[in-house]
């Protein structure tokens, strides 16, 4: 397997500009001869579909929900970063690049990150032009707020629902193209297989989730924008339908999977209330602008927070990391929360919680200002917990939220399968070992609006395409495989539901491959997961048939894939014998309990190649070089 990053030569600030000139173009009149399939309709998928259709390509877009506007990008709350420096506080493209590389603990490809920072300014322009209702100052200009891992105020936001508003901008642009006939939209359709013909991605096979029909779709290129795989943990902040099936299929067809163990745990989520818990709810990082995180200084202190005096409170983030305080990056904040709870100082009925306290901010700014900034987030908290965060501190605990890992892509966002492009959270490229807040929205839109429209043209112009129809053997074989697998899942007739297997897998992953990992635990997981998988294929119960809406069947296929993907994550975590970003190996930590990188041996991307079911995949490496940022220990003190 070849790993050519295809990074252009030259100084980093000119690479993308130079590349845009060097890349081949497709003549405007020729664009209509090409068909692109986009799987996923979130920020990356919708922006890509709209932009490619505007250029003149034929686009087919697929999503599993009832409309493209449901994509989980919608749930992102806090904001989107861009290096506009509107606040005159020292921001620049280089600083955003620097913060992101450092925030990723030096495990991302420099050139990709620089480009991300470079186009960030264009993203804000595009969103404003679409009518995204960003917050404004009295003079009519855009407002900003601060976010984790940065000392400048570069985050643009729309109340506590920035993701929703950005997605609606992209969705509306997508719908305009649908109305014009330039995009064919397939809702309630799930991609279940990738078709590779003569080494190139030439289409997909989907299941119509209403009728059960298995269909082939041909294209000249396939774009996967299917989001992250964090629901392998069952409990996560993701949508219930979020899954890794599309990228897993691609992996099995030859797309290398990079850094699968780099999964982000977000520090501020509402804690679990019981066995019935179906998902975890995020409380935006933007709250940490004004909220202060603390636990009692004394172990086992169960007094109500109002009765714990100031000098008996441990504002542990402010104590440990004075420069960043409550806005320390997510991996550091999550581990710090775990640490104090492991010490027995956690709060709430389960002892797995810390306080996010707004009393100081409310006193300083008044309740009205706090309501204006965070209104809907406070309401959401109150609905779920029946506690009023205007009166008592919020209780929060870390939860799985994002996956920095994903399919390997080069500088053109193409995977190791020619013609298969991967955008947004589904790819691995820009965030290294830890993603900073407000950067996921940025990456999804950067990839969709400003990168793929150029790089896909280059691929088309440089490639001779043989004419292929849905009757090609590759499609027929894929359809047969998909149908057979569905039949198998429906035919096991065991006693356990899909959810019961999913929960059990989630427990294994959280306990052994969660916030803190060690060799023994990972090896235990690597035994438990195959055993659970065997049970799954022996004892699964999925009722009814394929030829109608069958939500258990939908879930079963996804969990079957998770039972393999989880194993790869544990293997990756085991092989990466260092701690970096969100990947914390207890054996590799500093005296102060911080992550200890091993740049000599692990300053690389681990890209896994599938070699067959029940066979150990091959671990390839793409070495990472840092020309513009000296490798340094990441400190937020």
């Amino acid at each position: 397997m070849e790993f050519k990053a295809n990074v252009p030569s030259g100084p980093i600030e000119q690479k993308w500009t130079k590349h845009k000139f060097d890349m081949k173009l497709v003549n405007p009149a020729n664009k209509r001869k090409y068909t692109v399939i986009v799987v996923g309709s979130g920020l990356a998928g919708a922006s890509a579909s709209a932009s490619l259709a505007e250029l003149g390509y034929n686009v087919k877009c697929f999503c599993y929900q009832d409309t493209p506007r449901r994509a989980h990008s919608i749930a992102a709350q806090g904001g989107i970063n861009a290096a506009k420096n509107y606040q005159n506080d020292g921001d620049s493209v280089f600083r955003l690049f620097y913060d992101t590389v450092k925030g990723g603990d030096f495990r991302a490809r420099e050139a990709n990150v620089y480009r991300l920072a470079e186009v960030s300014v264009n993203i804000i322009d595009q969103c404003v032009a679409q009518g995204v209702p960003f917050a404004r100052e009295y003079g009519g200009m855009l407002s900003n707020r601060s976010f984790g891992g940065a000392q400048v105020s570069r985050t643009f936001y729309a109340r506590g629902q920035t993701g929703q508003q950005l997605l609606l901008g992209a969705y509306q642009a997508l719908m305009r193209q649908v109305g014009l006939g330039a995009v064919q939209m397939f809702t309630r359709h799930e991609m279940l297989e990738l078709a590779v013909i003569n080494g190139r991605a030439r289409g997909i096979v989907t299941r119509d989730m209403v009728t059960g029909a298995i269909e082939s779709h041909v294209a000249d290129a396939v774009v996967l924008a299917t989001g992250g795989y964090g629901t392998v943990f069952y409990l996560a902040t993701y949508a219930k339908g979020a899954n890794g099936t599309a990228i897993w299929r691609a992996y099995k067809k030859g797309a290398a999977f990079a850094n699968p163990c780099f999964t982000q745990i977000h520090p501020t989520c509402i804690p679990v209330t019981g066995e019935h818990q179906s998902k975890l709810t995020l409380m935006s990082e933007s709250l940490r602008n004004d909220g202060r995180i603390w636990v009692p200084k004394k172990k086992g202190d169960t007094r109500p927070p109002s009765q714990i005096p100031e000098d008996e409170r441990d504002y542990y983030l402010e104590r440990k990391y004075p420069s960043y305080g409550n806005l320390s990056p997510r991996d550091i904040s999550s581990r710090a929360a775990k640490e104090v709870c492991d010490e027995g100082r956690g709060v709430g009925p389960t002892g797995l919680g810390v306080y996010l306290d707004f009393s100081d901010a409310i006193q300083r700014l008044g309740q009205d200002t706090i309501r204006e900034r965070y209104g809907n987030l406070f309401d959401m908290y109150e609905r779920i917990t029946a506690e009023d965060p205007y009166k008592v501190p919020m209780r929060i605990f870390p939860a799985t939220h994002y996956t920095m890992g994903g399919l390997w892509v080069d500088y053109n966002l193409m995977s190791t399968i020619p013609g298969l492009f991967v955008l947004g959270e589904a790819n691995f490229s820009d965030h290294g070992a830890n993603r900073l807040g407000a950067s996921a929205l940025m990456q999804g839109l950067a990839d969709g609006y400003f990168v793929i429209p150029y790089t896909i043209g280059n691929y088309f112009a440089a490639t001779e395409f043989e004419k292929v129809g849905t009757d090609h053997a590759a499609f027929k074989e894929a359809e047969i495989w998909v149908a057979a697998r569905i039949k198998k899942l429906l035919g096991i007739n065991g006693t356990r539901s899909v959810d019961s297997f999913h929960r059990e897998l989630g427990d294994i992953m959280w306990n052994y491959c969660g916030m803190a990992r060690n060799e023994r635990g990972l090896k235990t997981a690597l035994q438990k997961i195959p055993a659970l998988r065997e049970q799954f294929w022996k004892n699964l119960r999925v009722l009814e048939t394929n030829e109608e809406i069958n939500q258990s069947l939908e879930k079963a296929g996804r969990v079957a894939d998770f039972l393999e993907l989880g194993e790869l994550m544990c293997l990756d975590a085991l092989e990466r014998r260092e701690s970096c970003g969100a990947h914390f190996r207890e054996e590799f930590q500093t005296e102060e309990g911080e992550a200890r990188r091993d740049d000599e041996n692990f300053c690389h991307v681990a890209a896994w190649e599938y070699t067959g079911d029940a066979k150990t995949p091959l671990r390839h490496v793409e070495p990472l070089e840092f020309e513009y940022l000296p490798l340094q220990t990441r400190s937020y003190k």
Partner: protein, 266 residues
């Protein structure tokens, strides 16, 4: 102070079951026993479904995704109220502490002429997408945008536009309306975009095309009941319908029929 109360309740449910789009549906009774009041409504349905699967009975199909009140995919009519008894709350954000031991709940899909039932509690809201495709956008092809701060938006306008933009497209308004009208949904989008400077060039065209599409899709007309506002989980206000009516009237009275362009570029 603690949110977990350890309290459980028993409920009787009457749930609409329908095999597929063309099949006859009917209500089926279920007992939901030992339900923790800390559970969300959908978690209660998950628990019920697990029990049904264990008994070899087909689980109840219902739409959901984010389970945090923002995607708009969920939507069950509970005792006649879309999204249930608690105002400004989506079905997924409703928790069982809103109910009492012994309550009887009738669960129905978001029924409307324009929202065919696909199965059980799942409906087809594709009409909403088609309305947006007809005009719920600002034509701003990628790459064309001016510098963001070149467009000044007065803060009050930005806040009001944000209030309207908060619509999640769930369709509760349609289900609540005795006429099955989509006015609140359409008004929210028309207001959001019409309040911003960026939305001005297409303001007239947008109002006409979205309303025309709404009628074409089979939604009813608005006769000012206000049930939509009461049912809306995002508190979209009736004033947006008034705003839309003004735009539409202006559009209908003053716009000239559009000349077909010789070369249509997307």
């Amino acid at each position: 102070m603690a949110a977990t109360t350890g309290k459980t309740i028993n409920l009787r449910l009457h749930v609409w079951r329908q095999k597929n789009r063309v099949a006859q549906g009917r209500f089926v009774d279920y007992e939901a026993r030992d339900i923790s009041t800390d559970m969300s409504f959908l978690e209660m349905l998950d628990v019920l479904n697990e029990r049904l699967i264990a008994r070899g009975e087909e689980p109840i199909a219902f739409d959901h995704d984010c389970r945090e009140g923002i995607c708009g995919q969920c939507g069950i009519v509970i005792n006649g109220h879309p999204h249930g008894p608690r105002g400004a709350t989506t079905t997924c954000q409703l928790h069982m502490r809103s109910f009492q031991d012994g309550d009887e709940l009738t669960l129905e899909p978001l029924r409307a002429n324009a929202f065919p039932v696909l199965k059980d509690l799942v409906v087809d809201r594709g009409a909403f997408d088609r309305i947006i495709a007809a005009g719920g956008f600002i034509s701003a092809p990628t790459g064309n945008a001016p510098e963001a701060n070149a467009i000044l938006v007065p803060k009050p306008d930005a806040e009001l536009a944000m209030d309207a933009a908060a619509c999640i497209g769930c369709g509760a308004c349609v289900a609540a309306c005795p006429n099955g009208s989509a006015m609140l949904f359409v008004a929210a989008k028309i207001s959001h975009l019409g309040l911003l400077p960026q939305g001005q060039p297409e303001r007239i065209r947008r109002a006409l095309s979205m309303v025309a599409k709404m009628d074409e899709e089979g939604f009813g007309t608005c006769t000012n009941h206000g049930e939509c506002e009461a049912a809306c989980p995002k508190e979209i206000r009736l004033e947006f319908i008034a705003r839309m009516n003004r735009d539409y009237l202006k559009a209908a009275l003053f716009s000239k029929p559009e000349r077909k362009a010789v070369s249509a570029a997307p």
